[in-house]
């Protein structure tokens, strides 16, 4: 796709000459992203014809209108760290929302904040903890955009057990629809403020994002109010020492645990109990190796630390989780600590001994997801397959079958690493879990890249057949529509509804949809 000079001028009129570019070197920054080699066979996907940087809703709307007029496919992004933000088979116009980076309001009493798209988890957290509140965290870490994760792409994170996940956090929403009209969702639609995500009539939040979000394929969200949850720590998080292993002080009213379970069943039961008790601030299923990664300076140091561990140890630490409780007062903290002790006793859970360094690192990781980025350190890139939302026991079985029936052979052949049954997962409010089966690969090694593609193909093939009573495979399979179509007989055919939504809301099909759906011809 190229832009006619008329179209370019029209876009330039909207954003100003400083905020549009068709310089090839700049454009290459908008088609390069991790995992492109797996999906498109190269580090670079299709180079966009131009890039625009709007500064406000009016400009976003202007861009979208120009795109409809000139039949230009567009897709918005915030940090642009997620593959669906940047890459596509065919060129499209990236709408980089970087200039829209303001917190518009923090309503302490009603516990919500109104933000623009480039406001990240850490950005909002920094200001809200000054008022005793915090936003939901996102697994990828503190740089994740609040709006991207609450309206457009998943939004699962370490603290979701207490905050709920992205699908449950948005309240009032300002949405530039794919055709350029503006829809104000929830109480905002009746000029009643930002406090509710549902207005009169059927909920539009479901259409806007559903379970896992349209990945930029359904217009552009320009402002959102998100729920905030009480924060019992100090007004700022203190880190000391030197990079890259800063020391974090765990605030008085929080306690961090690294739990080791004896079996999958024990793990499922105890995690469900922890969720039920409503005492957790953060909960994350992940191996002890992740904690070691957080406190080692480099792969070299990590490997030096773990290389002589006996294989039984890896086996023993397979079922593990990091976990944090918080409390509004010392009395409540004492009660919660006692409750934790009881649960650990009941399910014979071992609390892994930690020094201050590891405890501090886990604390910050549980609050913000910081450190997840280290997955890239391991081998250069990673794959997270089966990123599904389901019941704890279902997810336990999925990760087992994935590990045994898919990952094992590739890992034994040395083509992927860090796989096995030690996935990453988190609790979603009070209704279930999000679990990802993760492995690492090397984008410089063609065999490793191919193995990663093969893993994806096998997941697409096998997961629906295992079925396991899952309602849908949204987010579990590769984003290719073909995979979802093939899985449709084994679950709810949610895609046919999404296709209807897409057709209705995006009549000119300009909201780029590689990572969402395309209406059937």
């Amino acid at each position: 796709m190229t832009l006619s000079s008329e179209a370019y001028r029209a876009l330039e009129d909207v954003v100003g000459p400083e905020n549009i570019s068709e310089e090839p070197a700049i454009l290459d920054g908008y088609c390069f992203i991790w995992a492109n080699e797996v999906h498109f066979g190269d580090k670079f996907s299709a180079r966009p014809p131009a890039v625009v940087l709007p500064g406000n809703t009016k400009e976003v709307q202007g861009i979208v209108k120009v795109c409809n007029r000139f039949n230009i496919k567009y897709r918005a992004h915030a940090s642009g760290w997620e593959v669906p933000a940047i890459s596509a088979k065919e060129p499209f116009l990236p709408v980089d929302l970087r200039r829209m980076n303001r917190i518009l309001e923090i309503d302490r009493k009603n516990k919500f904040a109104v933000v623009e798209p480039y406001v990240s988890v850490q950005f909002l957290l920094t200001e809200t903890i000054k008022q005793g509140l915090r936003p939901a965290s996102v697994g990828c870490g503190p740089s994740a955009s609040i709006i991207a994760s609450s309206t457009s792409h998943f939004g699962c994170g370490t603290s979701n057990v207490s905050t709920d996940y992205g699908g449950r956090t948005p309240l009032g929403i300002e949405w530039v629809l794919p055709d350029g009209n503006i829809l104000r969702v929830g109480s905002l639609g009746t000029d009643s403020g930002w406090f509710s995500g549902d207005g009169p009539g059927p909920s539009l939040r479901g259409i806007m994002r559903g379970l896992s979000g349209p990945n930029g394929g359904l217009g552009i969200i320009t402002r959102t109010a998100v729920k905030l949850t009480p924060w019992y720590g100090p007004a700022s998080i203190k880190a000391r020492g030197k990079p890259n292993l800063y020391d974090y002080d765990v605030p008085e009213n929080l306690r961090v645990y690294q739990l080791i379970f004896q079996s999958r069943e024990h793990m499922t039961d105890s995690l469900m109990s922890i969720v039920e008790e409503g005492i957790a601030h953060g909960l994350q299923r992940c191996g002890v190796a992740v904690s070691v990664m957080l406190v080692t300076e480099s792969n070299d140091e990590f490997w030096d630390t773990v290389k002589d561990s006996p294989p039984e140890m890896a086996e023993m630490y397979k079922f593990a989780a990091s976990f944090m409780v918080d409390a509004a007062s010392p009395g409540e903290l004492k009660y919660r600590e006692q409750l934790v002790e009881k649960l650990l006793d009941k399910y014979e859970v071992m609390s892994f001994p930690m020094d201050d360094k590891m405890m501090g690192a886990l604390f910050y990781n549980l609050v913000t997801g910081q450190g997840t980025q280290r997955i890239f350190r391991v081998s250069g890139s990673f794959l997270s397959a089966v990123g599904a939302q389901e019941a704890w026991d279902t997810m336990g079985h999925i990760s087992r079958r994935c590990a045994e029936e898919i990952w094992a052979k590739y890992e034994a052949a040395g083509k992927i690493g860090l796989a096995g049954e030690s996935p990453w997962g988190t609790a979603l409010g009070d209704w279930g879990s999000h679990v990802e089966s993760v492995c690492v690969y090397d984008q410089l090694d063609p065999e490793s890249v191919q193995a990663t593609r093969d893993v994806i193909a096998e997941v697409d093939e096998l997961l629906p057949k295992w079925s396991l009573g899952m309602g849908s495979f949204e987010g579990c399979l590769s984003p290719a529509e073909a995979a979802q179509k093939k899985a449709a007989p084994y679950c709810l055919d949610f895609m046919s509804y999404e296709k209807k939504v897409k057709k209705l809301f995006d009549p000119n099909l300009v909201s780029e949809s590689t990572w969402y759906v395309t209406p059937d011809k």
Partner: protein
Amino acid sequence: MALKDFEKDMMRDSRCSYCKVIPHVMMTDTRFIDVCPSVARFNFHGFSAGGRMVAGLSLLRNRIEYTDGFLDMIFQCQMDGACDVSCKIDRDLEPLQVMQELRIKCIEDGQLIAGHMPVLEGLRKEDNMLQRKKADRGKWADGLDIKELAGGKAEVLFHAGCRYSFDEELWPTVKTGINILKEAGVDAAIMGKDEACCGGRAYEMGYEAELIKYADHNIQAWKTAGVKTIVTPCSCCYQTFKVLYDKIGKKPEIEIYHFTEYLDKLIKEGTLKLKKKVPIKVTYHDPCHLGRLSEPWIHWSGKEIKVAGQMIVHDPAKKYRRGAEGVYDIPRDILKAIPGLNLVEMYRIREYAWCCGSGGGVKEAYPEFALWTAAERLKEAKDVGADALVSACGWCKRNFTDAVKETGKKIEVYDIVDLVQEAL
């Protein structure tokens, strides 16, 4: 090393954008979280370290050609290294080295920046970065009772650097420096008109040959003069002597001190007594070249190996420069030792400090961007309630002073040496 030697780093960039902001946990005020002036000012991803890693790869793969837009994207950057610190919180990549090699490649390929040319010509002709006559280099010391090496010998050499030597407004600082050394009984000398540029700034602009040339020249000159210790008030010279010469395999067998380090030594020994009250509320600006960029160079040669399937480790194990080992506490200790002085910290300090704006050839080729960057820092200094901004580098002081004039901000700009002088 050449750009192609960093191909793996470029390929392994994940596009996380961590390089654009200070380490997340250090964010305490959201008005001051940007760490990269370039992307903060120009916004497109290409103006960040991550974007330049992509551009480097594109260039190697012949996906792009040299254009003015591309060159602006590469050179509108102070090479301040803050991106490198933020990147390396979670990754083991070398964005700053990629950007350095990218510049060197541009220059090797004949892609020159118009604004740099007069400076380079001046350097080649007159051995300084300020387009001034070599013969005038020692003028700042006129009237001072200081030994000028003219074929003679001295153990301690005071190296003023191009900026202090030719920027008359900064002369009081170097003059004070000399007086302090004399008062402390240090038998120091200067090279006067024979002093030459360190070559560091030219290297940042992409001119590697100039760095090699001046390293060879200076090291030989110091050897001939029997110099054992160098003291310099210029952070850029300090970093060049201490780090860059080592990086290119020309580590001088000489003790290199930034003037603040020497002052600190004299204060802690009791030779220098700070007695007079200086009742002023100041904030300290960490010069990039004294802070994160002055971390000693770490040489490594070995190979990458894979363990546990695909994990990349090194044989022998590799250590990374993460910006932690710069000079951060010493200037603060000096300021705290000044009676009556109230030191308040800004939001972006130490290894994640915001740059003054003048480095990397920006002041020379893109002066407006240099001033914009400095003005951002002045806002931060005002925000923490400081009446004065103190730095420890002539380049910082010049750019801040220019920005004060330009913006009309009511704030004093000091070199730390000026304040020490007031306290003596």
